[in-house]
Amino acid sequence: MLVQQVVNGLTVGSIYALVALGYTMVFGVLKMINFAHGDLFALGAYLGLTFLIWGALGQGTGGLVGVLLAGLLAALSVGLAGVLVERVAYRPLRGAGRLPAVVSALGMSVFIQNGIMLIWGAFPVAFPHDMLPEASWSVGGVTVSLMRLVILGGSLLLMLALYLFVQYTRLGAAMRAIAVDHETARLMGIDVNRLIQLVFLLGAALGGLAGVMVGLYYGQLNFTMGWLYGLKAFTAAILGGIGNIPGAMVGGLVLGLAETLAAGYVAGEWKDAVAFFILILILLVRPTGLLGERVAEKI
């Protein structure tokens, strides 16, 4: 029972972690909370559903390949949407201070959320549950389904890939450089705008993919889902130490575990509050997060 809960928690946690990466990367380079990120995640879920249905119409069933393909397409389109959001709503405000950026991001969030509502409708949409083969394995009383394996394994792989990319490639180094100081990075010959676009592309794409995973996992989508998942993922990012990529992974997994265990052993109806309690607690006690070395707030 406990081990099963842990597996469930890690699965949900890995989704949070994927979304958290988008927040943490953007915060790292722009020092802003991208309030629209949660809604990009929701957009990914809906686009994934649409691509899945198209694919299913073409070849008969979804299947693992179909799901992967739909996820990839959704990630790509959401990544481009993320770049667009940055270009339209954030770049013009990059020197204008914090508050205008916050309101602009909130406006973008409202825009995307209502765009989703206009396209796909205001009512919850069912995400087909039978897209992946119903395979599952039982190891010592713990059941691991193919779906959980795809979600958990897939997100861990992606996070590893992202980490390696940021740590060991030239582009990754440039990204870390602009996170420290835009102006100096520009003087070193780094195209800051292009790099920021790349950050939005990667972050949004991972968020979009996480959206598809949530659809697969819970089987239902709601046009307002971006807000709750977004805030939880942001909590994960803070928990791990914002601006820190391994931190986002740790934070996501810890949050998923905490939430699942709290729901299982304390009270289900308070599940959504757990993330916020953790958020407040961590900001009061250790604002740099579990793995954070960053200074919480410049004076």
Partner: protein
């Protein structure tokens, strides 16, 4: 407008005083002008109520520059205090008004105390989390008091000397009284010792502390005043609706309050009215476009920030903080901003010595646009 009259320091009939008087007359005559039409009166009520909420948040956000994106929690505290005590103990709604303000104010103090050292985005996100916890708590029917997701029904109307304020026009005037009270407090505080201390903290907290201002206490005080007034608004809201539910106090409500203050022009009282008009009244007037309303709304928030990052009617002192507060020397990056360069210079000069209180005319200029 009243602000400028006050900052100008002059007695007698300044232009802005005349404007404020005319606005008040118009507000008083409004029910008769629209033929006691319930629809328009309701819009008027909402305008006043949200202006009060905007002004109350303005103490925190505009006054001391603390980012509070969870203001709906204090609004909820006032509304639920009123609803619970009225429906359980039959205490009249108007008697509960100060109680609602007190409970919301105390809640604000309790919340603000531990988080007061946080700044910027961290404070922002903590207040969001706190407001969400409040909403989830209300939804979970704690101690069987809050009625769960259905909320509380059957709240009484306010009664004055045996006269029941049940018609929309009565409630309209009630909200106007609330607004006038709030405005009075806002204007008096802005130019008081407390208001000055707040603006010093907003401009430069370290310098304010070095000057001997107990910054922590003043910041908590801003939360207390803002929270209490939001609680008072909650009392009036509960009496008008007679039914309240947790979903009326969600993140979205906090966003609207936040946007009212920022879009209108942070720290500026006329700005709050403009912001309320844009965020609350305009969307209601465009009911016909219901489906696209929110889409346009989101886009408008983005566009407004791009073209007028200081808001529609910025506070002279605050404008400086928005432009140069976080990242100096990047003012030039926001090209194509309507309010041009030379004004920034005057703004800086005035901001340096708010005591001089000059340039009511300079404050009026952007409003003319």
């Amino acid at each position: 407008m009243a602000t400028q009259a006050a900052t100008a320091g002059g007695r007698g009939l300044t232009r802005s005083r005349v404007a404020a008087g005319l606005a008040l007359l118009l507000a008083l005559a409004f029910p008769a002008l629209v033929g006691y039409n319930g629809y328009y009166l309701e819009i008027g009520f909402n305008f006043f109520l949200w202006a009060v909420l905007g002004l109350s948040l303005n103490f925190i956000l505009g006054g001391t520059g603390q980012y509070n994106l969870g203001h709906a929690a204090f609004f909820a505290a006032g509304a639920y205090t009123t609803a619970i005590l009225n429906t359980r103990l039959d205490i009249p709604v108007l008697v509960l008004a100060p109680v609602a303000a007190l409970v919301a104010g105390l809640l604000a103090v309790a919340v603000a105390r531990p988080i007061i050292h946080l700044r910027g985005d961290y404070l922002l996100i903590v207040t969001v989390g706190f407001a969400e916890i409040v909403r989830i708590t209300l939804r979970n029917n704690v101690f069987g008091l809050t009625g769960g997701s259905n909320g509380i029904l059957g709240i009484d109307r306010p009664v004055i000397l045996g006269f029941r304020l049940a018609q929309m026009s009565h409630l309209y005037y009630l909200s106007l009284v609330l607004l006038l009270l709030t405005l009075f407090i806002a204007v008096r505080l802005e130019n008081s010792r407390i208001g000055r201390a707040w603006s010093y903290i907003r401009e430069d907290e370290v310098a304010a502390a070095a000057m001997g201002i107990d910054t922590g206490r003043y910041k908590v005080l801003a939360f207390a005043v803002g929270g209490a007034l939001a609680g008072l608004a909650g009392n009036v809201y509960a009496a008008k609706m007679t039914v309240i539910a947790p979903e009326s106090f969600s993140f979205w409500e906090s966003v609207v309050m936040f946007a009212i203050v920022i879009l209108g022009g942070t720290g500026s009282i006329p700005g709050v009215f403009l912001g309320t008009f844009g965020m609350v009244v305009l969307p209601q007037l465009f009911r016909g476009l219901a489906d696209y309303r929110m889409l346009v709304f989101g886009a408008a928030m983005v566009l407004l920030m791009i073209f007028r990052p200081e808001g529609l009617w910025p506070n002279r002192r605050w404008r400086l903080a928005v432009r140069g507060g976080d990242e100096p020397a990047v003012v030039a990056a926001g090209a194509g901003r309507p309010a041009g360069g030379p004004e920034a210079g005057t703004g800086a000069a005035a901001g340096g010595g708010p005591g001089s209180g000059t340039g009511a005319a300079a404050g009026g200029a952007p409003g003319g646009r």
